[in-house]
Amino acid sequence: MSQEKVISVKDLTKQFGSFVAVDHITFDVYKGEIFGFLGANGAGKTTAMRMLCGLSFPTSGYATVAGLDLFKEAEVIKRRIGYMSQKFSLYEDLAVKENIRFYGGIYGLTDKQIKTKMEYLLHQLKLEDQANTLVKSLPLGWKQKLSFSVAMLHEPQIVFLDEPTGGVDPITRREFWNLIYQAAAGGTTVFVTTHYMDEAEYCNRVSIMVDGRVDALGSPDELKRKFQAEDMGQVFLQLARKAVRSAD
């Protein structure tokens, strides 16, 4: 992992009326890092993530994403990041091939680039035989892998994954993490949220949000030592129980 910062956040805050959803959060994320972004429902994760993706304008603070100022260049940031949401970003009524072609177009790839990517992806995901299958008839595990690959189509510097493994079987869940490891090894920064505490252990560093603040940040080993916990599940429980704000 390099020391090059790809996300740098200082006192970033988002207020909705009198409600402070995200309360002066400060952290850096490095190139090629797998950064776990944890928190109970309602802790402010989604709001923070939406800000970092340029989808929600912060109330105050400072932040750069992919080297660009979040307050001034949100539109440029959107082109340099990938985003995979909990609910799929794929079009169910389009075939696998059509989804790849569509997103290639959206991200401004040339026809030639799309063609190369298409062949590579279909091969890598072993989806050659399903290229013309509608996405809606793919098993969930395949959809999630395809969804991830589509988010990576334009070779973004950072990819944001919002609960990417919800509901899939345990083997597919681990195959998905293999894709994450490969992306990180290739230099892409992975910013990921999850409710599976074993997955928190796969991250290089983990931050845990409580009531809009980042209450803990460190490698899984550091956090386990600090909170005298056996696993990340226990760390999470200790912190999240302190929350005073009601869930969601």
Binding site: N41, G167, V168, D169, I171, Y202, A247
Partner: protein, 304 residues
Amino acid sequence: MKAVVVDSVAKTFKVEKNVVTALHDVSFEARQGELFGLIGPDGAGKTTLFRILTTLMLADRGSATVDGFDVVKDFKEIRKRVGYMPGRFSLYQDLTVRENLSFFATLFNTSIEENYDLVKGIYSQIEKFKDRKAGALSGGMKQKLALSCALIHRPSVLFLDEPTTGVDAVSRKEFWELLRDLQKQNITIVVSTPYMDEAGLCDRVALIQEGRILDIDSPEGITKKFGKTLWAFKADDMYKLMLQLEAMPEVESCYPFGSEHHVMFRNPGQSIESITSRLPFSHLTTKKIDPTIEDCFMHLMRSK
């Protein structure tokens, strides 16, 4: 008496021109007062089973009874006796918390007051929001309201379809504590979940995958049947460790499990030294461990 009996139930759906089999001759029983878990990923057939058992859908083949009543012949009796919390929030978003609960009580010819003791533990947590529209509640509170509404007519069997999906670890733990309390009131609970770690909280579980039951037993019974030696490996570079282990011909499977990798060897008497001597990692540790339900699930998936 058995609270739920499912006998060779099969169900197929037509999707476009294809026929998808949601359930292949599934059979299981849940005893009265039991907390029975259906454990499996999306697409396993859990929701289809719930819909058949709550008389919302007919099976292609097979039979099922709930509380002694047949799901086809006696559907009206069953509807009086079961509580059902679907996976998707399905209360009235533009009614208040109190109005929703009172509506469901009225449907079943009862009142909130009559059965208050049953829902008290749950409802008291959302009662301060009783005048808020259900649509404006947080996820956790919606879930508690849905459970209260499913309980207000004092059902004998409660069906909960993935009540903890997308819920954080703390709220999940609290929800299971609620279920344990309910069980004391002699309500049979059939609950589905994709979270393997929740299996241990049930009395018995059915592990289900792609419409087939892989095993049915108590959580301890399932892990006892694993029958293979399982090793936990740990080192400073876990990703490299996994790649190297996977590449070894002696290794049957290697899966990351939190801060460890769980490894099985093809030969049950595999010498561990002959493996570790070929792994150039610092801080390499290995130990024999007992399998978790998730280990068993993956093992059953692969040997299928």
